[in-house]
Amino acid sequence: MAAATNNPPLLEVRNLRVEFPTRRGTLLAVDDVSFDIAPGEVLGVVGESGAGKSLTGNAIIGLLEPPGRIAGGEIRLEGRRIDNLPYEEMRKIRGARIGAIFQDPLTSLNPLYSVGRQLVETIQTHLSLPASAARRRAVDLLKEVGIPGAELRIDHYPHQFSGGMRQRVVIALALCAGPRLIVADEPTTALDVSIQAQIIALLKRLCREHKTAVMLVTHDMGVIAETADRVAVMYAGRVAEIGPVRDVVKHAQHPYTKGLMGSIPSLGERHDRLTQIDGAMPRLTEIPKGCAFNPRCTVHGRRCMVERPELMSAGASRAACWRHDAGGVGQPITKETVDA
């Protein structure tokens, strides 16, 4: 379902920066991130812990936890800027226009209220429906997300549902007001593998039927490969590569994406060893100059040490790597050039 290119994007994120002021200086956790999501498109955002993928999602739904704050850039939903809206304004958009699904279904539901009450409350907050109609809609939503015996289950409390069923309820909550965009942050990570497959299939079907766009934040490349139309790979707060999912998975352009793909055990031919990227992602306080990946990169040159690459065209994708620039990576690193 690649989105038509002539449509205006549903969501535009331009040069987004998220920072955390700390006693020891300001940490830049999301650094100059830009991407679009077209109506009905599923954009996967993948990266390892600390890459800034969840923060990007939280910035979009306006739920950054203080002291984290948006320090620059713009977020536009259907052409309207939403990153600088007052809290009450944003509250109306969140839920009505943007739905959210979080990792842990137990903490995103209130344990003291029945599932039906939470659904009805959300529906009535965003749509002006009488109580009986709202309840009917809640039952319909529960049926739609595949909860057996919805009429009965609507009066149950979250603890009476299993993990998979709870996540279905959370998806129903996110769909309440018919949002155009759903930000799903690790929606399947807390679930067992067989339940995970069910939830992915459900999300895919619902988004196709409702033409809802999804920003799918996850660390699981398998989930992305199955679900997303396009994927953005994040590393140390920046987008390292973005492109159609097939191209990124099969023909990765950025050395980090290549390493990441190689390090996932697959069911194809069995190899003795997995490709491994040595080292670890730098802490926010220790992000190196130039390309943030340069200390772990096997093909870096002198230019990578000093100059930061922007996203540039690379095959069918765009990658932030000097190898795709006409100038290349510069001289190879030798002892002399480092000392110079």
Binding site: A197, M221, G222, E226, P265, L267, R270
Partner: protein, 342 residues
């Protein structure tokens, strides 16, 4: 049985472990409720050969971690026996003899944030097994051994002075591995050792484990829910469902010619990363509660091939193609076996 029992190293027979999860006596008496027993492990047989990696896979609550804990002796079994290199673990023996046996098996835990004491320096964490089993002659020997262990897991001896919080998740798991290797064991029980780690770090740890196995001739019992990881690392695989082993087979056979319907279902849940367009049949249902497991074959409520026999009679593990499978449909020939490719 692996290679005709020549190198049989660990043998588990009819292993059971039940947990009593009943409410307190008074509550039971007032509400007239019976005791509630979780049958976490309900009669499993495993044979592990020296030098191989035997993996247990299954979804949460299937009892795979309980098996790991039973094997190293963290829980006593309710029934059944565990034999380690010809020694019955349950038989009474002197303190020195027990210690000599325990030294030879160690465990690596899932969460490297919870399994290292935050108040201890890394040096002391790794030195503890050496001290406990009196394996060092003097302080200098102890320091040399800890330094070697740290180097073996690609850390430096200087890291020994630090505390666990100064390390990342992957480095902490390296420390756990160094600690497990400190007593020079032959058998390592690894309970989801990479589940808490990012994929690139997971690759580092898996590679390290393969290298160490080769260098030190280790035998692994590897517990994981991640089928791709299991495929990568194992010699043989056992699939668990609700406390029972439903299928055991050499890795390639299990993934290329799966037999038990549950194994097939699990394989269908692996995301298609190679984007071959492989068709996945959606998996229906959820794992039932182990408190009141279904009768007969515990998988029958979710099984598309279940018959009346499956509902009443527990299937026995029957040998087939170098492994075993516990399924009436396979036994009766109702369910064909097909080759799979990925």
């Amino acid at each position: 049985m692996p290679d005709g029992g020549q190198n049989l190293f660990v043998q588990i027979e009819g292993l059971k472990r039940y947990f009593d999860v009943s409410p307190p006596w008074l509550v039971r008496a007032l509400e007239g409720k019976p005791r509630q027993i979780v049958q976490a492990v309900d009669g499993i047989d495993i044979e592990i050969a020296k030098g191989e990696t035997f993996s247990l896979v299954g979804e949460s609550g299937c009892g795979k971690s309980t098996v790991a804990r039973l094997v190293v002796g963290l829980y006593p079994p309710t029934d059944g026996r565990i034999e380690f290199d010809g020694n019955d673990m349950a038989s009474r023996r002197g303190r020195a003899e027990t210690a000599a046996l325990k030294r030879r098996m160690q465990m690596i835990f899932q969460d490297p944030y919870a399994s290292l004491n935050p108040r201890w320096r890394v040096f002391d964490i790794i030195a503890e097994p050496i001290r406990a089993f009196s394996l060092a002659k003097d302080r200098a020997d102890l320091e040399r051994q800890v330094g070697d262990l740290l180097r073996q897991v690609r850390l430096t001896p200087a890291d020994g002075r630090k505390y666990p919080h100064e390390f990342s998740g992957g480095q902490r798991q390296r420390i756990s591995i160094a600690r497990a290797l400190a007593s020079q064991p032959e058998f390592l029980v690894c309970d989801e050792p990479t589940s808490a780690l990012d994929v690139s770090v997971q690759a580092q740890i898996l590679n390290l484990m393969v290298d160490l196995q080769r260098r030190l001739q280790l035998t692994y019992l590897f517990i994981s829910h991640n089928l791709a990881v299991v495929y990568h690392i194992s010699t043989r695989v056992g699939v668990m469902y609700l406390g029972r082993l439903v299928e055991v087979a050499p890795t390639d056979t299990l993934f290329r010619r799966p037999k038990h319907p549950y194994t097939r279902m699990l394989l269908d849940t692996i995301p298609d990363l190679d984007m071959t367009g492989r068709q996945r049949s959606p998996v229906a249902g959820e794992v039932p509660s182990p408190i009141n497991p279904p009768s007969g074959c515990t998988f029958h409520p979710r099984c598309p091939y279940a018959t009346d026999r499956c509902k009443v009679e527990r299937p026995k593990a029957l040998p087939i193609e170098g492994g075993t499978v516990a399924c009436h449909a396979i036994e009766e020939g109702r369910l064909g076996i097909e080759d799979r490719s990925y």
